[in-house]
């Protein structure tokens, strides 16, 4: 069984799937002995850890949550740094410079977008997402799932 299926099964057991997705998972669970074995294992684990401590769910990833704590610590300890002095004439030159380079940048950029490939990608409007984090790879993955009635590639 691949990792994605295992994660989906876990989401189903946690009650995170709804509608068609939940029905599909239930059907799959009923017909696949390997899925049932994993489900039993997961349910045993859930039963074993239930009640050990309060369940706290964070809306953000733990790195982001920690960064908020870190920000607050720094905010309270921060000493306002003196703003960098900017010469008045340089302020005038910034918009002038931007105008001068705008034509040079925008024309090739527009040409680039005209020539850009059409990659096989367009998230459909009838989509749901679920995310998971690989501690081993330090990677967060958000999987966009096209529900029935919509398509992941919009084609």
């Amino acid at each position: 069984m691949d990792d994605l299926k295992a994660i989906k099964l876990q989401a189903y057991l946690d009650g995170e799937l709804t509608g068609t997705e939940a029905a599909e998972a239930a059907k799959w669970l009923a017909g696949d002995p390997a899925a049932r074995a994993l489900a039993t294992e997961l349910e045993n684990t859930i039963a074993a850890v239930r009640g050990i401590g309060p369940e706290l769910k964070l809306p953000e990833s733990r790195e982001f949550y920690w960064s908020k704590i870190s920000r607050e610590i720094e905010r309270t300890a921060a000493v306002a740094a003196p703003a960098a002095a900017v010469l008045w004439w340089r302020r005038l030159l910034v918009p002038a410079g931007a105008l001068a380079i705008a034509a040079a940048v925008l024309i090739p950029l527009a040409a680039h977008y005209r020539q850009a490939a059409e990659p096989p990608l367009a998230a459909g409007t009838h989509s749901s997402t679920y995310s998971f984090y690989s501690e081993e790879g330090n990677v967060t993955v958000v999987w966009v799932h096209a529900n029935e009635g919509g398509t992941a590639n919009g084609n």
Binding site: F64, L93, P120
Partner: protein, 165 residues
């Protein structure tokens, strides 16, 4: 003669203005470059398309976690974002991501499909080379991946954005 001198001065003024314009733009404190790569995963052999490139760097390792045999880089874009600012970046004809630089190396990512918001819950720290991968199934048992990382062009010595009060 006087007219020639004026023209000469004007040319130099434009060159100097361009230089200071670029320098001024690059000096925004805490500004970070973010790289957005579109990757296609498939079990098929490489199609005859010169735009598809081999994966390189740590991205190759991240993709090995998934089930497909081959992965090709379809497109790559880099955007610069000062803290507090957001930008929409098209990744295909119908799909785009909106990146908001919250502060430090923290970003909020919104995914739009056909101009409609698909997911708005993604808030990630991209510190230490950590990627955010948005992915989905595609036709013919293939898959697409949008890999968002900090660009290696960022100066590691440059201080990250200050915390907001």
């Amino acid at each position: 003669m006087k007219r020639a001198a004026c023209a000469y001065l004007l040319v130099w003024l434009v060159i100097a203005a361009s230089f200071f314009g670029v320098a001024g733009a690059a000096e925004t404190p805490g500004e970070l470059k973010v790289q957005i790569r579109l990757i296609w995963g498939t079990n098929e052999a490489k199609p005859d398309d010169p735009k598809l490139k081999e994966l390189e760097g740590p991205c190759k390792g991240w993709m090995q976690k998934f089930k497909w045999k081959n992965y090709w880089e379809v497109d790559r874009k880099t955007v610069s974002l000062p803290p507090g600012q957001s930008k929409k970046v098209p990744v295909s004809k119908l799909c785009e991501v909106e990146l908001k630089h919250l502060d430090k190396q923290n970003f909020e990512v919104k995914l739009f499909g056909e101009k409609k918001l698909v997911d708005h819950r993604m808030r990630e720290s991209l510190a230490n080379g950590r990627p955010l991968i948005i992915a989905g199934d595609d036709k013919n048992d293939s898959a697409w991946f949008v890999v968002i990382t900090l660009s290696p062009e960022n100066d590691p010595a440059k201080p990250v954005a200050a915390a907001k009060p």
